[in-house]
Amino acid sequence: MTFMKIVIIGNSAASTAAIETIRAEDKDSSIVQISEERHPLYSRCLLSYYLADKIDKNGLAYRSADFHKKMDVQLHPGRCVEEVDPAGQKVTCSDGSAHSFDRLLIATGSSAKIPDNIPETLRGVFVLRTVADAEAIKQKLSGAKKAVVLGGGLVGMRAADALCRAGLKVFVVIGSNRILSRMIDYEAARIVGTRVRDNDIEVMTGSDVSEVLHKDGNVVGVVTDNGLMLDCEILIVAKSVRANTGLIRNTDIKTRRGIETNASMQTNYENIYAAGDVAETFDITTEEYTVNALWTCAVQQGRIAGQNIARRDAAGIPAKYAGSVAMNSLNFWGIPIISFGVTVPEDESRYTILKDSRPEQNVYKKIVIADNRIKGLILVGRIANAGVLFSLVQNKMDVAPFMDQLLGDRFNFGHVVRHGGKPVLEKYYRGLST
């Protein structure tokens, strides 16, 4: 195949990475990109920074304004793909327009889940997922005094931080026993929690919103399942996300929590690829298929999909995805937090757990090891060389020779060179980061 019709659904992390890798190989094929959101390409991760006025609207841009032109991509913003026809090789949009494809990338991401008992049509109920969401919250900020955030994950805590900076009294309602429960353990959460309280954000763990109180269509408060009544004009729901798979509901493209993919990022149709928050991938630390709905994962999957989409002959060697890892980095009021993989193993007896806890310095480190391989870690306060540890996770390196040094503040790439020798040094010299 020389000239291909490539269709990409979505205009965010995974799709951008795919476009860049396709165009590095193939300048001729046509690329049609369809995106439900109208707003020019931006980074969703920056929405809380925008909400807190740390950056302006232009600061959200992920690439320069002429990106799609430079990449020779025909972008159709503001169109929603309603149907995918794998056999007929075409997609149909809500406005009736249709596009046929030789190769298709589904990079539709995910959406915030809203529990059934929360009436989302009420004024004052928000999620934080798109520019439009952030704009709507911003408009409501002036005049608002109190906010409730439901969910204490990365998005919830960042939203709480932003609202607090905007001068609101913020109350965070969390189902689990700690903030950031998917990132860090109880001890780490306690350190971060102190800083959260210092900033006058109140956190209630082990609870849920059972009822939303409203007047004339406006939120006026919530009642929690332990009977507390909290006044608020703003309720932000940040509990979890759900893969945007609606467009393939009438197809036999396989899905579980997300669209099932193989290491080439292909679905069960070899010319249909999926990447990013919509895709289920193999997690190398848990060794299970899951959706790691994270920016870096989306970019890496988009790159693999792009490389394989650009491959013209079936004989060539496909690019393979090594697998995803939960990886989070957060800078919370000056306390940096990084975590990878399995941080709170269910059955601790199967793991070696290294810990260094210095709460008085806001420092906490934990490394979870099985079979001499790092399966996960938490770094609070001291994050230098976090990536060196991450490379040990990714490369499944045997850490037995320097197990006693992993937690040290001075652990660095030199330790890896000592034990990995010439091959490691050679990768370094040549700038091969993977």
Partner: protein, 159 residues
């Protein structure tokens, strides 16, 4: 593309490169002025030990800095799009105006050569001293252990 290489056999671990690097990025010219700046200017090159008396080759060290990787993980992880390849020099650059200090780049850099800047508001790393003829570390190295050259002219890694 030209990169900075450190010849392990020649490195004395004197850290002259670290000082030169910090000064070169401090905004002032002389060391004696740079040391007055608070917090102290930060270096983007770091000398680390890769062997001691107990390792077969004995005491050894290397000056580590950004490799301006072929497929840079930092650029893949950067949530702002601020880390990218300079189309002219090929170097990986971090746009200070875009950086929001989320430390995603530090999270993934396998060589640990991206650091938090003095005021902890942005991430910094080696920029090959874009505004100088030769990187400051290369100039400062008393044993000429640090080279700035194409890969073909680079020293082969030691055993």
């Amino acid at each position: 593309m030209k990169r900075i290489y450190c010849i392990v056999e020649k490195c004395l671990a004197c850290r002259s490169c670290e000082i030169a690097c910090a000064v070169a990025h401090s905004g002032v010219e002389r060391v004696e002025d740079a040391v007055k700046i608070r917090p102290l200017p930060k270096h983007r090159i770091r000398v680390e030990s890769i062997g001691d008396r107990n390792t077969p080759q004995g005491i050894r060290s290397i000056a580590l800095q950004c490799r301006h990787c072929e497929d840079p993980l930092c650029a893949q992880a950067c949530i702002t799009g601020g880390i990218s390849r300079d189309p002219e020099t090929g170097a990986i650059v971090n746009n200070p105006d875009k950086c929001v200090a989320c430390w995603s780049c530090i999270m993934v850099c396998p060589f640990g050569v991206i650091v938090r800047y003095e005021d902890c508001r942005r991430a910094v790393k080696c920029d090959h001293c874009a505004d100088r003829d030769e990187p400051a570390c290369v100039e400062a190295c008393p044993t000429r252990a640090i080279l700035y050259c194409e890969a073909e002219d680079a020293p082969i890694p030691v055993e």
